[in-house]
Structure formats: structure tokens, C-alpha cells
Symmetry: C2
Subunit: 106 residues, 2 copies
């Protein structure tokens, strides 16, 4: 069936939950890549992390449930996108600070 990748309403998202979501090396890296606001494939090889795809799925879920991202389903491929505008409205400057403060994408 279609879209059951629910996201919380941004008004219900607490700052501490957002921070817990990005307080992990892999998830922080994901968020900085998603900082451009565009959808990115969930494809594990594309990301190049040294973890199994089940672990990556766990991180994607954590980001979505914390209110940071949404999932876009297209056939059998999924994309993930930062809820940039909503986040900027609710937590001004936060995403920008994360993107700018993260180590270079090498």
C-alpha cells in the first residue's frame, strides 16, 4: 500500500529530540548531505557508510520519526528529503549551523 511513512507535525517536534537524532555520526552526515533540500536516494551503496543496510534503514527511520525528514516512495526505490522549510521555521538557524559546522564531505 502507499504512504505509511508518517512524520510528526513540526509543531510537536521538540528540540531535544532533533538533537538526539543528529547526535550520531552517521545521521549527522546524512543530514548535512540532505541540507540542500533535495531528495536523495536511500540506496545504501550510494551513501558509502560502513554499515549494513538494515542499520541504515534504522537511521532513516530515526530521522523521520524525529521530524527531520520525509520519505518519498517511487516504485521500489525510496528517497529521503529534509523538511528544510519547516525546520527552518521551527528552529531558525539550526540546520544551517549543522551543515556549516559539520566536517568536510571529503
Amino acid at each position: 500500500m502507499t504512504n505509511d511513512y508518517p512524520v510528526p507535525a513540526m509543531a510537536d517536534v521538540e528540540l531535544v529530540d532533533v538533537l538526539r537524532a543528529v547526535a550520531d555520526p552517521i545521521r549527522l552526515r546524512i543530514v548535512t548531505v540532505l541540507g540542500d533540500g533535495e531528495p536523495h536516494s536511500k540506496s545504501a551503496p550510494d551513501w558509502g557508510f560502513d554499515v549494513q543496510k538494515s542499520t541504515l534503514a534504522h537511521h532513516f527511520k530515526a530521522l523521520r520519526e524525529a521530524g527531520l525528514t520525509r520519505t518519498i516512495v517511487d516504485g521500489r526505490t525510496h528517497a529521503i528529503q529534509l523538511r528544510r522549510a519547516e525546520l527552518d521555521a521551527r528552529f531558525p538557524g539550526l540546520v544551517a549551523a549543522l551543515v556549516e559546522g559539520a566536517p568536510p564531505t571529503d
Copy 2:
């Protein structure tokens, strides 16, 4: 003699470690209060958290070791201060976003 409350050099502080430090309700609250850049007493009753003072000491240590704060010793009382200027230089906009995005101090 007591001035063994070492802090890491700001250049060595990683963003993800800062985020892990503030990804806790009590520590996030502390940081937002310290956002004014002034020293604040470590006195447990003053903070009004519902934890023992040993727990509070643990959180103060976590903030200091993550590079967020410094400790100022004065006799038998201690104060804690945000390393505001250094943090702003290393992670522009981050502290401001935390202070602004945190729930009201009410």
C-alpha cells in the same frame, strides 16, 4: 590546589560531540541558561532539576569534557560558564539556534 577542570582545545571539538552533549533534556536546559555567557553557580538547588547533585555533577562534567563549558572555582563554590565566543567561532549560529529553539524557561 584546585584547577584541574581541563577543557579540550576548541579546534579539537567535533560537532557530533557537542550535539551528543546537548541531546539531553537537562544539559540542553543548562546550556540555554548559560547562553547569556555569564558564569552561573553549580548549586543544585538553584537549578531546580529533579535529580540528585551527583547526577548534576555528572552533567556538568559531560558539558565541560565535550568542550561546551569551563569551570570557575571560587573558594568552595564553583561556577560554570559557556565558552560562548569560542563556540560561536567554531560553530557559527549553533548556540544561538539552541537558545532560540529551546522551550521557554518558564
